[in-house]
Point group: C2
Chain length 353, copies 2
DNA sequence: AATAAAAATGCAATCGATTGCGCACTTACT
DNA sequence: AGTAAGTGCGCAATCGATTGCATTTTTATT
């Protein structure tokens, strides 16, 4: 067959020009036919489709994207892919984006400002049609992100947002989360409630703490500085924080931990010290990590709808892409308090199986 | 400034042509200067760089990629992003790829054959420079992947590989994993050891079972069909399988579960039935999911170096890209048996904190 | 000063798909 | 028959960066 011989000569992928040559028509016609443009007769269209199929033609998206000034690509930047919350968000984004014909490119900042800047610039160079970002803990300047706004490229923040950049944002109700956790502990009869806070430059952690503080106030409990310790919330800082709290002249009888990781490490530390949970000490985490449900005692926590968050973020980006509008919204997703064993003095445990 | 006015007129991104016009030189010179081509004098190079900076010029990777027939992109297809093992692999790939100047695009098949096919075709259309794949459970035909081999596009399989396609593969030593788990249970004095197997069309699960069977044989223990139940290894199938096993006239006293998820659900089911672990029943999982370490009793399991696997996979792809060679290797990464409480009759527990 | 040699830069095609405009041909209608 | 409307398709420019080859400019040499 003739086109096979041609294909031999040039080992590269077949293009619309190859199809055109074969059929002795123009490339424009091929292009239009493959797009089902009614200007091309049905007969010609069929002929072209068939040959394209035979030749194993696949459109070169790069060329098409260049011409259309559109990459059909959405970028995602997260601190760490390898974290349940973030991978769930990505999963949600991917689902919605794929259905809309978009490709998702991801990159992780490892919570490092420099890497974040490099990534964002690379995303820009790749002309992503939109960028979804949760900023790195370490980031303090945001010029690299403002460029996207300046160039009018859709930008959506999730979870860790930048207040000074006006764009769509999607967060969970951290304030209410912190508030409800604290109220719950009070309701369970705990009197002195400590808090392991996260880095206060990040809104999400600041909000959790504010919710905590306001719940105390509402219940007439004084806010005690010594019971609030900020850290990066890794396992080790959980242990350090609980140690510090337990050495106080008047230690807490419950701790609202900034995340599940520290909740767990604190719990294990306390258990080793012979302190019973939840009898002697109530513990609540945040994020509803998969393990929080299955450890023993299971950890009360706040569920964040990560997958949903990803879906919403993708929808917001798609919306921005479609209507390059000027009005932005901040979506606040509700959180859910999940009461498990670690904070429940009267045992009514969630049944697993 | 003149270029600012120009920029006003055409609101799109500045290109090398804009720079060229401004400086009254040719675009070729600009292109070469930005690549630090020594053919361009230092003076001109500096001038160009400076103006590029001022104008906020960012190369259009799409155009460059089109011309160079190279997308600088590596595609990754996994069953589910939102799973610790896979997100860790992705994390490893991303790290190596980014350092090498590559972008990673990801997509999830949700273990569905159709979606996998669609994704792979889309990756092809996007002209990824290489594809890293762990195939969907449901996939049975592999034509969509063979195309990559036919077109000589680098392809690497990890974890779930396709035996009939000859290319680089990277797997963990599932056979030895299964063998060691079983040997360990025997060493601990368990006599009747059951196995919750995964889908046997996937090599990885078949290998685990083979390791199990061979370890039994080596120790002179007869292989008992009724003690081996295959499923998709979700929580519910773990419960179903353990139920079925416990109803046998001669139930097992230990179970090697195909993954940690079923190990956990089985364990919880057994606990609710008043069966003590590890005293009455030994349990071992597979994969070392984060929760396996922190549940109680902690679950003995096989650690798979997921992050490393991702790094290796990226290296293999980069190698294939660099030397489009014909010789492929299958890297078998070692697994590690992690002995925890669930299978240890003499308590020597891993200390957490 | 003349010529060779070296250095610096420009021209124009290329990558593959898209699209405004226009040409050729068919059918319809007065 | 002659004009108008309609149908089917092709030409050539475009998207932005790259590169082989050619041309111009500079420097060195006799």
């Amino acid at each position: 067959m003739c086109f096979n011989q041609l294909a031999m000569h040039k080992k590269s992928e077949p293009t619309i020009h190859d199809i055109a040559r074969e059929l002795k028509i123009s490339a424009s016609t091929v292009s239009r036919a493959l797009q089902n443009n009614p200007r091309i007769s049905q007969k010609t269209r069929d002929k072209i489709r068939e040959l394209a199929e035979t030749m194993g033609y696949r459109p070169n998206t790069l060329a098409s994207n260049l011409r259309n000034k559109k990459s059909n690509t959405i970028g995602i930047v997260v601190p760490l892919i390898n974290r349940h919350f973030f991978s769930s968000v990505i999963s949600g984004v991917e689902e919605v984006a794929f259905k809309a014909g978009y490709t998702v490119v991801i990159s992780q900042s490892n919570d490092l400002a420099n890497k974040e800047i490099a990534i964002v610039q690379s995303m820009f160079a790749n002309r992503v049609d939109g960028l979804i970002v949760s900023i790195a803990m370490q980031s303090t300047t945001f010029e690299h992100l403002k460029i996207f706004k300046k160039r009018n490229i859709p930008l959506v923040f999730f979870d860790r947002v930048v207040p000074e950049i006006e764009t769509d944002k999607i967060v969970v109700d951290d304030y209410m989360g912190g508030f409800r956790v604290t109220q719950h502990l009070i309701d369970q009869g705990y009197q002195r409630i400590g808090h392991m806070a996260g880095p206060q430059n990040l809104m999400t952690y600041a909000d959790r703490k504010n919710g905590y503080a306001d719940a105390l106030k509402k219940n007439g409990i004084p806010y005690d500085e010594s019971l609030v310790i900020s850290s990066t919330l890794i396992s080790e800082s959980g242990v350090a924080a609980v140690q510090q709290m337990m050495e106080l002249p008047n230690p807490p009888d419950a701790i609202f931990c900034g995340n599940d990781t520290t909740a767990l490490s604190a719990m294990i530390y306390l258990r080793n010290k012979g302190i019973r949970i939840p009898e002697d000490m109530g513990i609540v985490g945040f994020s509803n990590e998969p393990f929080s449900k299955v450890v023993s005692p299971s950890i009360s926590t706040i569920a964040q709808p990560a997958f949903l968050m990803g879906q919403k973020a993708a929808e917001l980006i798609l919306h921005q892409i479609a209507h390059k509008g000027k009005s932005y919204q901040t979506v606040v997703l509700p959180t859910e308090l999940i009461i498990r064993e670690s904070s429940q003095r009267k045992k009514i445990t969630e049944k697993l199986f």
